[in-house]
Structure formats: C-alpha cells, structure tokens
C-alpha cells in the first residue's frame, strides 16, 4: 500500500536516524512512502500557542498537498502528528475556521477537502501491516534484549483512540514480536518536558531523570521511543543529568523503527545507528542460530 509521508523538520536534522529507519522499515515490509513535495513546518507546539488562524493555515497547507497524493498521511514526529491531527479535527468541526483557512490557501491555489487520515507509523505498523507479517519478515532475533518502551506524551494523548492512554501496549507488543524482553516501565507515558529543556532546563532535567531512573531500575539496556524531542532530551542531556544529580546513566535511546529495522535485517548504518551519541552495540544473531 502507498502512504503519504510527512517527515517534518526534526527528521531532517537531529532526528535523521528516525527518518532513515522509518523509510527502511516500510521499504523492507513492501510499502511505499511518498514524501509530500515541498512540505513546510507543521507549526509545532509554539506556533499553535501564538496565532490560531495562522498556525492552522500553515498546518493545513501540508494537508492540502498531501491530499493530492493519497488518503493516509504518516507523520513520525509525535509533535507533527499531534498538530496535523488536531488541525484536521478542527477543520472538520469548525466551518468558520475552515473558511478562513480556505481563503488563505487559495492564495497559492490550494484547497483542503477534509479527506485525510492522520496516522502515526507505530499504529500503521501494528494495525495495517500487522504483527504477523512483521513476525514473518523478521530475520534477526532480539531475544534477551531488555527494552524499555517509552511512548512519551503526544502519541496516545489526548484523544487518538489508538491505544490505552495511561498504559499503551502497541510498542510493547511490537517489541515482543521481535523477541525482545519488554521491561516493566511505569514511566512509559511520563512527559520528557519537550521544549522546557530550552526554556526551563531545571524542570526538564528532573523530568528526564525520572524516566531514566525508571528504565535503569528495571535494568533496561536501551530505551526505545517514538518522538524526536523525547529522543534528544533523553540521550543528549544524559551527561548533564549525571552531573547535576550525581548519577551514572549510560542508556542508549533509540527510535522504535531503528530496533525494528535491525530485526528486519538492516545494517546498523541503514537504520542510522551511527548517529547515536550513546552507542548501541548490536551484534546480529541470525534467527536460526539463536534457536
């Protein structure tokens, strides 16, 4: 099946490994990602916080472009996913704002007809492609790897209806399908602070400390996440956290698509492992040998 693909700004830079591994995984599973030509920033959390109509218009431009290609839009970044989803929902329910947005988009001969479904790759992998297919296509076992699944905030909240809001299971099941051991991880939907790392770093560092401590207590060897902002907060600031709180964390933080990519036979480079600040050492054990 073909999916429309919206990478978003983070996946072009700090979250490049996410982009690389999402593309690899979908290709490996035989599905097409068609990137929106000339997409723009989704507007992100802060745009949404400043001007309502403008933020909707910016977001809707992407929807209008995506609609020309297909029906299912995949956005891996949790923040982009939330914004695009929210915009779609507001435009569907509010004719006044929809009219304002239409009027603006017309300036570039664009129009949005409200036909898109906004989706996250995790949910597409589990619901559309299915765990059975993934199990069949798995060539490398992750047996014995202890993984903490970190969902973060915005993929299940506030109202996606794709998974349990307090204790989501999709990533847990996916990882188990790959043979990994999913550790008990009550911090799985705790907030990493997002942009607070820049604006109120003391608050954000403490939030990340809690998540790391929870993973370490469960003796996870790696944290796996779905969001570029969570990834960079948990990985790039571990040093700072160690200094500030006198801890000794050394936990790799990967995107779930990187782990999945490895299980589907990807090389470390193909899934962007060379971009980790805290390296994740992975020696592929062939599934047959493992038995």
């Amino acid at each position: 099946m073909d999916y429309v693909y919206y990478p978003g700004c983070s996946l072009e830079t700090s979250g490049k490994a996410y982009d690389e591994s999402v593309r690899f995984v979908f290709q490996q599973l035989g599905h097409n990602l068609i990137e929106i030509d000339d997409w723009n920033c989704c507007g992100a959390t802060y745009y949404m916080a400043t001007k309502e109509t403008i933020s909707l218009v910016i977001s809707a431009r992407n929807l209008a472009l995506a609609e020309q290609i297909g029906q299912d839009l995949i956005a891996p970044c949790s923040s982009c996913y939330t914004i695009l989803y929210k915009t779609n929902k507001i435009l569907q329910s509010n004719p006044i704002l929809k009219a304002k947005v239409d009027q603006s988009l017309r300036r570039d001969n664009l129009e949005y007809h409200l036909s898109l479904r906004i989706r996250h790759p995790l949910e597409v992998l589990v619901n559309d492609i299915g765990l059975n297919t993934i199990r069949e296509k798995r060539v490398v076992s992750l047996e014995g790897r202890r993984i903490a699944p970190y969902y973060g905030c915005q993929i299940v909240r506030p109202d996606r209806g794709i998974d349990n809001k307090e204790d989501p299971q999709m990533m847990d099941e996916l990882l188990r399908t790959l043979g990994a051991e999913v550790v008990p991880f009550p911090a799985k939907v705790r907030c990493c602070g997002g942009m607070l790392m820049t604006t109120y770093p003391d608050v954000a560092l403490e939030l990340n400390l809690e998540i790391l401590a929870c993973a370490a207590r469960a003796q996870a060897e790696v944290i796996v996440t779905t969001c570029p902002l969570c990834q960079i907060n948990l990985e790039a600031y571990q040093n700072k956290i160690n200094k500030k709180f006198n801890t000794r964390f050394h936990l790799p933080v990967l995107y779930f698509t990187q782990i999945l990519g490895l299980a589907l036979g990807g090389t470390p480079r193909q899934v962007g492992l060379h971009r980790q600040i805290i390296p994740f050492h992975f020696k592929a054990i062939n599934q047959e040998e493992a038995r």
Binding site: C9, G15, A17, N40, T50, T53, I58, R61, Q103, R157
Partner: protein, 207 residues
C-alpha cells in the same frame, strides 16, 4: 472580613481590562473542540495531581480555572503556569468532566501574547517569537538557529556550554549548518499574509 465581599470582587467592580480579556478568552474557547466543558469543572484537582510540572507552577491548573471564575484574568496571564505547561495532556485525559485543560492553557498563551501580559523574567515568549520568525521566512523550522536566537536573547553567556553538544551532533550529521527552505517561499508568504488578515476577522454574533 465579617463575610462581606470586598468591593473589588463584586460584579460592578470587575476591572475593564479583565472584562475585555474574558471576552476574547471565551471567543477562543468556542474554537476548542469540547471547549464548553470548562463550565463543568468541579474543582477536584485531578489536573493538578496529574501534572508532572505542577510542583513548579505558581498557580496550579485547578486554580487557573478558579481564578477565571473569579474573573482574575490578569493574575492568570501573569503566571508562569501557562508557560511551564509542556502540553503532555495528562490533565486533559484524566479530567472526569472532560475539561480540555491543555487547550485552555494554549488559548491563554495566545491571549497573553496578544495583550502582552507576561510573568517577570520570562523566557518562553522569546522562544516562541524566534520560532515564528524562522518559520515565516523559511517555511521550515531550523533548530540550531532557533536555539541560538533564543539563548542570544535570554542567556547569551550560557551559549558556551552548548558547544560540546553542538559538536557531537554535528559529527553525527544531526545538525545542518544552514536552514532548509521550502521551494516556494513566495507563495508561502502570500498564504501567510492572507491568514494574518483572516486572523482579525471575528464572526458576527447574535446578542
């Protein structure tokens, strides 16, 4: 106080400014899907208890709604609270009355910016402004530029501390030295200009 209501709190004494703020706040609330559930808040405090950062707020999320009911809009807008919210939506999903707390805080952010009411020593507005300027110009966000601009405006001396991280990310190809642009920036700004006009239009209402 022998049970008397102080004059500043009676209906006749609501400050003119607060009145205006309430009106434009309510206008925003109408645009939030499910926004009307604000009326149903029972002040149980589940929002505050669920919030991972309420311990560092000067006014808790529950108190925000109480203050709104007391028509103390300026007090709300001058609080750190609306800016410390990281929009994790924990409050929203747990509220037994369906109050859209996170989206209400977003509406308050917009209101604060529109009316220039901020807490003292306040960094987030600067970040938001840098973000908007960059996005308008390039059509895409540029993280290094955004963070650089932000630190320059708020705490330039701390930029030095960011250098090691910058180099690490650079070595791993996770930072580009130049912002990426969309192809059609001309048409993009045309859309934006129109949107700015649209922003100002307030639909007529029956009174």
């Amino acid at each position: 106080m022998n049970g008397e209501i102080p004059p500043s709190r009676t209906k006749a004494f609501i400050k003119e400014k607060d009145k205006k703020l309430i009106d434009s706040f309510l206008l925003q609330v109408e645009n939030i899907p499910g926004g009307e559930s604000l009326k149903k808040c029972i002040q149980c405090g589940t929002c505050t208890g669920s919030c991972p950062v309420s311990y560092t707020m000067d006014i808790t999320p529950r108190e925000i709604i109480a203050l709104f009911r007391a028509k103390e809009m300026e007090t709300i807008l001058a609080s750190r609270t609306i800016w410390i919210c990281a929009s994790c939506y924990a409050c929203t999903v747990r509220c037994p009355q369906g109050v859209q707390v996170t989206d209400l805080l977003y509406a308050l952010k917009r209101l604060a910016i529109e009316h220039h009411i901020f807490p003292r020593r306040f960094p987030v507005y600067a970040l938001s402004q840098s973000f908007v300027n960059l996005t308008n110009r390039y059509g895409r966000s540029y993280e290094p530029g955004l963070i650089f601009a932000y630190y320059l405006r708020t705490k330039p001396w701390q930029l030095i501390g960011l250098i090691p991280l910058f180099l690490k990310l650079l070595a791993r190809g996770r930072i580009s030295l130049f912002p990426k642009k969309i192809k059609n920036t001309m048409n993009f700004s045309r859309i934006l200009k129109e949107a700015e006009i649209m922003e100002l239009i307030v639909p007529a209402r029956e009174s």
